[in-house]
């Protein structure tokens, strides 16, 4: 390790993205204007379920400014099927979406026709002239309806049911655990439908050059290489001739950048018209077109001894998938089930998993997919178990958390694709104790009684623990080039979603090459910069792309060292290297710079290395949250007064970036737990399609948040010891706030088992508690 490495890794290096963004000089996709560019608007179904009888486009074609209109019937050849990217299951295949609805519509918001016009207003206004006739069918809106659906309620008749996946996972002897139990508890939980709501909606510009057989899409992000392969297939192009160009993006949080229908529609619109076609989603459209998430319920049962030892858990998890299985939809039920035992021993576990199709917007991943749900279900259950055992909830957790001596901890096969999962490192009770210190909770002390504020509100603290996987996605590529000018350019398959990936890659590259960060340019913009790559999801950019950058740097320095030795006529091991210069150890005045080597090697391609980092087993971070909330017994209003997070994220690359991720994640989680809910009526109409109805947290609703990232337990599975840090802030918020509310309401009330914690629900719990007291 060189001197620069020691000082750079672990330092809160300033973000290299900030200057352009603070000047308003970022380049977001709607800022781009191309010569001859036209605009696309999409006619979306306003019915949740029905048969398309006819679509008449003739009037829309006559609107001045309209250039073209197309529907599924106009698609050249078969409509492409949008594939599953993560956890592809055979049983989900009948439920995959095509870019345009042909015989049936299955959710409000499903694309039916496309208008291309000279400007966005004209295109949007012309949608009014499209005459779409739909023969309505009974919509399937709830999980219960989906589970028992038959006849016309089947979304896809050939599939013969609305169940897209049904499987069992588990470990240990569950029957024995429940037979030996001294206490069992069974509860039903529900996590509501939410969406990430990045502040920038989705958008893109597609530019199809038919003569050259090239497709360029500006505004891509997240998983550009996967998307490139499938777009190339759909339009019969060479993969190398499809270029997905990433721009600045206004937040991703899991929902942006997946292979959505609009990628295909914009590409086809450009192919038909021979012009660059821009599509910018409006906010209302975003609410029905962009992935929803977290719509999961669970029957959960726990078996324990009187001393608090958990023997087993069994559950039944049902996810409302919406109308189609999206690229990453299967992640939601899979992770909601896999993470149910969480960071605890739970020697026996069994879970039945059901993915159910309804006439609602399809579901995909949103920051902490499945974890939010599993943590809420389990952590609420543990507090109820603690009450049942008259035990301090912290003591109950300490008794069951996995300790350092038990690492690595084999979790068994808890995924449908039989991927083996092992917790790599950590001392969960020790890290949990740090949180207890932070929030002043004395484990084992008498139950801290609920405090009363002078205004009558009841105040209490709730606790929650979680662990969280990071990395994943098989591999990542990185390329480093040294120009003869001395400029160093680093590219990775991970792209930035606004969380500071450019800064992180710059920092790792500068450390690995032992050069000042100012000399490094980060280019994450295009799929042409690398031969292959994966992307930004699952807490993986720092872990996977960062490790790939480190590997590329080592290879590059090896090549440079060999050439330097040849030029200096000495042995490679006789050279010292620092700050971009190789020097002869015996004659330190004889040296050669990386830039010079790049020029000397120009006939052999210069100093230009692309490396692939293959996935090692996943790293698991562990953390705990505490929330101090005030509940107003008169109105049911919940205010979060203080919030604490402690997380072991392995080795910390940039503490300020990690803290930013954690605090931002907590606030997102608070909004999801307390405010935003996607509500459908019984006809499958979305009732909350604006920021006036789907509420996001604002600055007056957020408490002071203390986030502590420890670097105590580096992951043994990657060269830097990193674990992911992007999701730890959000994943246990509903759990901690739910537990705090239950304690504030006090004994006699089982507390909230459903999110969100809207006042009317809290009032109902308060009156139930009152009823029991009297």
């Amino acid at each position: 390790m060189t001197g620069t490495d020691k000082t750079l890794i672990g330092r809160s290096m300033p973000r290299i993205e900030d200057d352009r963004l603070l000047d308003g000089a970022g380049c977001f996709v709607d800022d781009i204007v191309m010569p001859g560019m036209v605009h696309m608007a999409i006619l979306r179904s306003s019915d949740a379920h029905g048969r398309i009888v006819s679509i008449d486009c003739s009037a829309a074609r006559l609107v001045p400014g309209v250039i073209d209109v197309f529907t599924a019937a106009d698609w050249p050849g078969e409509l492409p099927v949008i594939p599953m990217r993560l956890i592809p299951l055979k049983s989900s295949e009948p439920f995959l979406q095509r870019p345009l609805a042909s015989e049936k519509v299955r959710y409000v918001g499903e694309p039916v026709a496309v208008v291309i016009a000279r400007d966005r207003r004209t295109a949007e206004d012309a949608l009014e002239y499209l005459e779409l006739e739909i023969d309505a069918l009974e919509p399937v809106v709830t999980r219960d309806q989906a589970e028992s659906a038959a006849g016309d309620a089947l979304l896809v008749a050939e599939a013969k049911s609305n169940v897209s996946a049904h499987y069992l996972i588990g470990r240990g002897d569950i029957e024995d655990a429940f037979a030996r139990a001294e206490v069992t508890l069974k509860k039903s939980f529900q996590s509501h439908r939410q969406t990430a709501s990045p502040l920038e909606t989705r958008g893109m510009i597609a530019d199809f050059d038919r003569a050259a057989g090239r497709l360029t899409i500006h505004g891509a992000s997240k998983v550009t290489f996967f998307n490139r392969i499938h777009l190339a297939r759909a339009f019969d192009l060479d993969t190398d001739n499809v270029d997905l160009i990433a721009t600045d993006v206004g937040g991703g949080f899991g929902v942006r950048g997946e292979l959505y229908p609009e990628y295909y529609l914009a590409a086809e619109a450009s192919r038909r018209t021979g012009r660059p076609v821009k599509w910018i989603e409006d906010r209302r459209e975003h609410f029905t077109a962009t992935n929803h998430s977290r719509d999961v319920d669970c029957d959960l049962e726990v078996a324990a001894l009187r001393d608090g030892t958990i023997l087993g858990m069994r559950g039944r998890v049902r996810a409302d998938m919406g109308a189609y299985v999206r690229t990453n939809g299967n992640v939601v039920p899979a992770k909601a089930a896999q993470f149910l035992p969480g960071p605890y021993r739970v020697p026996a576990f069994a879970c039945e998993v059901l993915a159910l199709m309804t006439n609602k917007t399809p579901v995909g991943t949103y920051r902490g997919p499945g974890r939010i749900e599993a943590n809420f279900f389990r952590e609420r259950m543990l507090d109820m178990l603690a009450d049942e055992l008259a035990m301090d909830p912290a003591t109950l957790r300490l008794k069951n958390l996995i300790g350092e001596a038990e690492m690595p901890f084999d979790t068994g096969d808890l995924l449908p694709n039989a991927q083996k999962v092992v917790f790599d490192s950590g001392d969960y009770p020790a890290t949990f104790k740090l949180l207890l210190d932070e929030c002043g909770w004395q484990p084992g002390a008498a139950e801290p009684s609920c405090e009363r504020l002078p205004d009558g509100r009841r105040v209490a603290i709730g606790l929650a623990c979680f662990n969280e996987s990071s990395g994943g996605g098989l591999y990542e590529n990185a390329r480093i080039r040294v120009a003869p000018s001395g400029e160093i350019t680093v590219s990775t398959g991970s792209s930035s979603m606004g969380q500071g990936v450019e800064t992180a890659m710059c920092q790792i590259c500068a450390a690995a090459l032992s050069v000042p960060p100012e000399r490094i340019t980060v280019a994450l913009s295009s799929t042409t910069l690398l031969s292959d790559g994966v992307g930004s999801f699952h807490n993986r950019s720092t872990v996977m792309a960062g490790s790939a950058v480190g590997k590329a740097a080592r290879t590059l320095l090896d090549i440079a060292r060999a050439e330097a030795a040849r030029r200096l006529n000495t042995a490679p091991e006789g050279l010292d290297y620092d700050n971009g210069v190789f020097s002869d150890r015996d004659q330190p005045d004889r040296g050669i710079r990386l830039a010079e080597l790049a020029a000397m090697l120009s006939d052999a391609g210069g100093l230009d290395v692309e490396s692939r980092y293959e996935q090692a087993p996943l790293g698991f971070s562990f953390g705990a949250h505490a929330a101090r909330v005030a509940v107003d017994p008169g109105t049911g209003d919940v205010e979060v007064l203080d919030y604490w997070v402690v997380e072991d994220v392995g080795r910390v690359l940039n503490p300020a970036l990690v803290e930013g991720q954690t605090v931002g994640g907590v606030v997102q989680g608070l909004g999801d737990a307390l405010f935003g809910e996607l509500v459908y009526d019984d006809q499958g109409q979305l009732l909350t399609a604006s920021f006036a109805d789907y509420l996001l947290p604002t600055s007056t609703e957020v408490p002071n948040i203390r986030a502590v990232a420890t670097g105590d337990y580096p992951s043994p599975h990657n060269p830097y010891g990193f674990k992911g840090a992007g999701e730890g802030g959000i994943v246990a918020v509903a759990a901690a706030v739910g537990n705090a509310i239950a304690r504030a309401i006090g004994p006699g009330c089982e507390g909230p088992c459903q999110t969100p914690f809207h006042p009317e629900r809290i009032i109902a719990l308060l009156s139930a508690a009152k009823g029991k007291e009297t």
Partner: protein, 160 residues
Amino acid sequence: MSEPQNLRLNVNGVSCAVSVEPSTSLADVLRQELRLTALHLGCEHGVCGACNVLMDGRAVRACLTLAVQAENADVRTLEGLGDDRIVAVLKQTFREFRALQCGFCTPGILVLAVDLLSGSDAPSEEEVRDVLSGNLCRCTGYQPIIAAIMEAARRLRGVA
């Protein structure tokens, strides 16, 4: 569609003639006609504040303001505040406190903070939270933005 109307706008100290339909928003004119793309459109219904611009010194939603309403007003976008001392200090504290991540909401928040700090040199944290509650940020959780605005106010008052 109605007839385009000729307007004279005063944007960032420069007078310019534009021809727009009466229903065109100020945001669309600024972004599309004048290519001032620092302001962003996050919701187009006046909730998120990413499109804030100063009109006669006060922050307004450019998405809810019609271009015709801005005639005779002094319109300033973030691009036109490059020499403003308050903006310069805010940009510095935003950097130091990590008050931005994706940066999409940032121009609207900077414009809002300029409006706040022009009228009040020592706002309380509660006042800052209150004013900032008119803008949405999905990345930072607001905590660093509040700290950055408070610190900028301190520096502008000359408190070290």
